[in-house]
């Protein structure tokens, strides 16, 4: 396991061109939470946060926000107008996670947290800070370093009536819990003939950070994706972090919530009222015409950065944050493919067997006729993440590569 975690300080916002660590949602292009009709020739600022309510919306964007076109309606999308009248509150992503967790713990006394250093330490990324003081040591349980066993303990507790949230200090540590996650978490509902439900949430930070070394930089979504019976979601903004956390806790299915080490300090303004983000839906970040770019988690920000460059070069990319890694939201994705006929997948998983590989297969299978050109998938190299900063940079996909890929696709 990690020797020495520095908490929030270690998780630096990865946004390479940002002069400051936090950022505010500025002029919005569009709200990410609903699909939009096509907008022509908008001038915009491709922003790192696709945030919510903001009174600085330019008139075009604000008008666009009023239109809701969504085949699968859900609570989160139901009140754009009312949310624009409330100011909301600003916070960082890890605080949003905590807020969601705390609200659910207030709402349902069966929700509990287990993990290493979640209690007195407040969580290695401070997601559970203050919760042990508020809810007690049994409800926010500091476990010994025994991932397989405490994940199994969480599953046993879920089977017998509780709703645990198990934290992996780093997602990579959950490799030790693979036995329990695959055999029990995923399969137990089925092998028991539906008798036992496992409403567990397994969450933690993963992904490639800042020179954390190979073992702390793993992308476990690619290893877990074959496990039947689980759902996987990846959050990328404070808004969807809180929404997905709450939805995952309320879900009767076992859900694995992937956070990213470098995104914990993103700042955004989120609504005051209660909301959730649908676990099975993707998020439209930026509607466009020329190419569909599918991404999730940290790569969303590399994509949006590349989108800035692309727009200056005259391209109009449609960016979708798939959010639901298992199952894929083939409706949102499909509609986009049918519109643009070109797909670029940008992911942090390794080339072999990653989420991108599955997504490529799924799109090819379902939307082959709509594609003008083969799907392009940009993934990390099949390499253990090196420690050296330069090497690490070359293992993950960088905005320049995304720009080149789009240019190639749109030739």
């Amino acid at each position: 396991m990690a020797t020495g975690f520095h908490g929030v300080g270690a998780a630096v916002a990865a946004l390479s061109s940002s002069p400051s660590n936090s950022f505010d949602s500025k002029k919005l292009l569009c709200s990410p939470r609903r699909s939009f009709p096509v907008r022509k020739g908008a001038s915009f600022v491709a922003d790192r946060s696709d945030g919510s309510v903001n009174l600085d919306l330019n008139p075009k964007a604000r008008r666009a926000q009023q239109l809701i076109v969504n085949a699968v309606a859900n609570k989160a999308d139901s009140s754009p107008a009312s949310s624009s009248s409330k100011p909301g509150h600003e916070l960082l992503l890890f605080e949003a996670l905590r807020e969601g967790l705390e609200e659910e713990m207030d709402r349902d006394p069966r929700v509990c947290v287990m993990g290493e250093d979640v209690g007195h330490y407040g969580g290695s990324y401070k997601v559970t800070r203050g919760l042990a003081e508020k809810f007690g040591d049994l409800r926010v349980l500091d476990t010994p370093i025994a991932e397989n066993s405490f994940t199994g303990m969480g599953i046993g507790a879920a089977m017998t009536g509780l709703r645990p949230v198990v934290e992996g200090m780093n997602m990579g540590f959950l490799l030790l819990a693979f036995n329990q996650i695959s055999n029990n978490c995923g399969m137990l509902h089925y092998t028991s003939g539906g008798q036992f439900t496992i409403p567990i949430v397994i969450r933690g930070p993963g992904g490639v950070g800042r020179q954390l070394g190979a073992e702390h930089s793993q992308r476990l979504e690619s290893y877990f994706q074959s496990i039947p019976g689980i759902q996987m979601v990846a959050c990328s903004t404070p808004y969807n972090a809180k929404g997905l956390m709450k939805a995952a806790i309320r879900s009767e299915n076992p859900v694995i919530l992937f956070e990213h080490v470098l995104l914990y300090n993103l700042k955004e303004r989120i609504p005051d009222e209660d909301y959730i983000c649908n676990l099975e839906e993707a998020e439209m970040v930026r509607p466009g015409e020329h190419v569909t770019i599918l991404t999730y988690s940290r790569m969303r920000y590399h994509v949006m950065q590349a989108a800035k460059t692309l727009v200056n070069k005259g391209y109009d990319p449609e960016v979708i944050d798939i959010r639901s890694l298992k199952p894929f939201d083939l409706h949102t994705i499909g509609n986009s493919v049918k519109k643009t006929h070109r797909v670029l997948i940008v992911e942090e998983c390794m080339r072999t067997g990653g989420i991108g590989a599955s997504l490529t297969a799924a799109i090819t299978e379902n939307f082959h006729d709509y594609l003008d050109t083969p799907i392009m998938c940009l993934s990390s190299q099949d390499v253990p993440t090196p420690y050296a900063g330069t090497l690490e940079e070359w293992t993950v996909v960088q905005p320049a590569q995304i720009v080149t890929a789009v240019e190639q696709l749109c030739k």
Binding site: S149, N179, N183, Y190, T191, Q195, N253, N366, F367
Partner: protein
């Protein structure tokens, strides 16, 4: 059987191989030495005559048990360990376990069930001794050798047999099979194929019990969980990790080791640096008890103590039951490695014969009454087979049910609807 409850038995040698004991009443049997030259298997276990098993100061309660038992024996008091009713209940449960497993073997060789089937013959005293003391809300977690645990807990023989036949009326709708017996109603939490993976689940169930009492303020919640597993599991990390957590948080759980000396073909002595498993309890801060697992009354006495501890909130206990499986590891195991003399030794300690003798010698029951029970059980088992035979196999529509508790988890299809709303889905022909 009358000499059964001697204090010496509690300190008794768990491993008759390679060891002649002066304290054991069956010391006349000498065992052939294993031919392997490997150090582990030829090592002699030396136990001194004053050997009480190693208990830390924290295991005070265990001494109390042996004292009680010693008292009972030395006074040769007329008070017996069980009443007639209890005796008959125990006998019936033992016979049910044996008859059911024998029927399983028959059905397997007739092609009614497939895959890996692990039978419990010989170990019935452990299941009966422990589980018959539980309430309905207490939980039991087992391994792949779980048929009899489920039966003892109250799962109907029909449901278990149907499950083995893969029929939709099985306790898990035919989806689990021999190694995955679950029952929500009777709180049987499985049935696990990989050894050790049930122990954290049991720890979680015990955690829920403590949580209900302390966080949800259900003051009368004193549900206990029993985790059954074998000697092979005691070398697995999950075992040790859970011993630690259970003792740390004083969870209401009893870890029951069914030490039958063999993990498929691996002798416990060849696999374990210190084969005395009960000693591992005190290392984690809980009492470790060794008991003769072929004697249902002894097991029951120890179980009472251990379960009582857990109910009172005093924490977990590790109980090592010396037992033996009369058949191979599974119905696919040719069982060639085990010494016939060893098998004969344990066959002579058959728990059913032993209890029968005890009941008759102590005038708790007559031969006729016991025969009636045996006949009744035969009928129950026959009925279970008939029921299973006549039950339907699962329909195709069952394929995709129960994968998710909330089938929205299959996601949104290209047409915008949730996949589970697709009619093909309920027919079981959709691809997900």
């Amino acid at each position: 059987m009358a000499s059964a409850f001697s204090a010496a038995k509690f300190s008794a040698q768990p491993f008759p191989l390679n060891h002649t004991s002066t304290t054991s009443h069956d010391s006349s049997i000498v065992f052939a030495k294993p031919t392997s030259l490997f150090l582990g298997s030829t090592r002699k276990l030396r136990l001194t005559s004053s050997s009480k098993f190693n208990l830390s100061r924290r295991s005070g309660t265990v001494d109390a048990v042996s004292d009680v038992v010693k008292q009972k024996k030395s006074k040769s008091s007329p008070s017996l360990l069980i009443t007639k009713e209890e005796g008959l209940e125990l006998y019936e449960d033992l016979v049910l376990g044996r008859a059911f497993e024998d029927m399983c073997a028959q059905m397997y060789y007739r092609g009614k069930m497939f895959g890996f089937v692990h039978l419990y013959n010989g170990q019935e005293a452990v299941s009966t001794g422990f589980i018959k003391l539980l309430k309905q809300q207490d939980s039991v977690v087992s391994t792949y050798r779980d048929h009899v645990h489920a039966l003892s807990k109250g799962v109907p023989a029909r449901a278990v047999m149907s499950e083995l036949f893969g029929k939709t009326t099985g306790c898990c709708r035919g989806q689990g099979g021999s190694m995955h017996m679950f029952s929500r109603e009777h709180n049987v939490l499985g049935g696990f194929a990989f050894i050790g993976e049930g122990i954290p689940i049991a720890t979680g169930a015990a955690f829920t019990s403590k949580y209900k009492r302390e966080v949800l303020k259900e003051a009368d919640c004193d549900h206990v969980t029993l985790a059954f597993f074998g000697d092979g599991t005691c070398n697995n990390g999950q075992f040790f990790e859970c011993l630690n957590m259970a003792a740390l948080w004083k969870l209401p759980i009893v870890f029951v080791v069914e030490n039958n000396l063999w993990a498929i073909g691996m002798s416990h002595l060849r696999a374990t640096s210190d084969p005395q498993i009960y000693k591992k309890g005190p290392a984690f801060g809980m009492p470790g008890i060794h008991v003769d697992g072929m004697d249902v009354l002894k097991v029951r006495e120890v179980a009472k103590e251990a379960i009582g501890r857990a109910r009172r909130g005093e924490g977990p206990t590790l109980v090592e039951c010396e037992t033996y499986r009369f058949r191979g590891h599974s119905l696919a195991d040719p069982d060639e490695l085990r010494d016939p003399a060893e098998k004969a030794h344990y066959a002579a300690r058959d728990p059913i014969t032993a209890l029968k003798k005890y009941l008759i010698e102590n005038s708790l029951a007559s031969e006729a009454e016991l025969k009636t029970i045996e006949k009744k059980i035969d009928e129950v088992v026959e009925d279970a087979v008939e029921f299973a035979d006549e039950s339907p196999v699962p329909a195709r529509s069952q394929l995709l049910e129960n994968v998710f508790a909330d089938p929205k988890g299959f996601g949104i299809g290209p047409d915008g609807r949730y996949r589970c709303e697709d009619p093909k889905f309920t027919e079981g022909t959709a691809h997900v």
